[in-house]
Symmetry: C2
Subunit: 275 residues, 2 copies
Amino acid sequence: MKTLTGKALAAAIRERTQAEAASGPQPRLAVVVATADEASLWYVRSIAKAAAGVGIVCDVVDLGPEAAPEQITATLARLSADDHVHGVLLQTPLPAGASAQELATAIDPRKDVDGANPLSLGRLAAGLPAFPPATAAAVMALLDHYEVALEGRRAVVVGRSTVVGKPLAHLLLDRHATVTVCHSRTRDLAAVTAQGEVLVAAAGRAGLIGAAHVAPGAVVIDVGTNPTADGGLTGDVDAEAVAETAGALTPVPGGVGPVTTALLLRHTARAANLP
Amino acid sequence: MKTLTGKALAAAIRERTQAEAASGPQPRLAVVVATADEASLWYVRSIAKAAAGVGIVCDVVDLGPEAAPEQITATLARLSADDHVHGVLLQTPLPAGASAQELATAIDPRKDVDGANPLSLGRLAAGLPAFPPATAAAVMALLDHYEVALEGRRAVVVGRSTVVGKPLAHLLLDRHATVTVCHSRTRDLAAVTAQGEVLVAAAGRAGLIGAAHVAPGAVVIDVGTNPTADGGLTGDVDAEAVAETAGALTPVPGGVGPVTTALLLRHTARAANLP
């Protein structure tokens, strides 16, 4: 089994992004945070650090874990209207009772660098210009980087979230794959996933995908980032179990993750250069 | 094989719509036309007649087959801003060079009774309130009317259009089906479609679906409306060929079609009653 690491690809994307960022007004990304979740805050710090590395300013707007939805909406609207801000990201988790989809409608689609506004998803589905969610875009970038053919092939996505599974289904359809979306209610998951020549695991359940779920030679992309007891991360795929069956697998960490962050920055640089 | 006609369901929807239409301001639907296509104009006349039958005013705004995209956009925006208009429909085909998806962004989502604005599709996909395209809604209404179970079952959609295949995939996912979308680039279409316990044909190719494409006992919904040489309509499914295999099939005409028109009117009545 081939291991499809994301580090070299992420570095290449960051390098091009740095050049793009230097070619116009300095890009500025605003990350709106309303949580005390440590993993989430760690991720925001890693975005800020990566942004600095490519010449993008990253403002973290921390509203605290008690922020009211109205306050979050107002902040997103204010940042969307601010000419000095080019990208707006709403970090999850959110306070209880707040809907990420509903709040994200306040993000200007031209600044929606993580494709969170339902309008971005709709435009993506309709084939109009839009920023896809960075994670979904990272899956496609990895498939392209490793020259995985998609046209006419069977792609199976496990997970139907608005941020990964659904937009990814549209991106794969655009590339002429035959796309199946599975989820927690799917009967006999292994029988369905074993039909995928390309299998994307984005369910958020550690070890969900084992040997029986994978077609011989399949390319498996692991989007899962599940916390482990020792403070690390593990994917949705049991890498050891599928090693004999899968043709290729992205590692966790070091696969989709770094590419996602790099693409979030690239989207921000592009947003800064929009006419 | 059971025949799943749409006429009784359509009549029931029209009846409830008539009551809804009478309960508030008289609903008004504006249909924007920019074509000389006879089939399209015939369909618009049939909508206008059906609207009158349930107490909905239908204005046909005919811009002629030479209308410029800017003129269509301006008309859609004007109707969207008109307090007396509750539903706005952009009829296809459009003049060469005009994109239905792009133009439909000018329709206020609250008046987008045929779910043509990409924002409506995105909201649908994100689980937010939105009008789905009437055709996609009609497929779901027929499945519900005939009490076809969806949760955990395999549904296969043939066709990936923005007006039918894609929104339908989201509606089926919402109902917890495992959904596969096929299209013209799908390899071995019959092998894929034969996995569907529910099979929806929305490819626009007469007779595409034959016996080999259908699982024994499958429920088959035929969305195709392909013109025949004698001026009639035929579906995407070869009804005679699948008669021994399919468990149930919607006829063309008389299946999805009448339910689609009835739902377009229901959406208009609902739009008129929006707070």
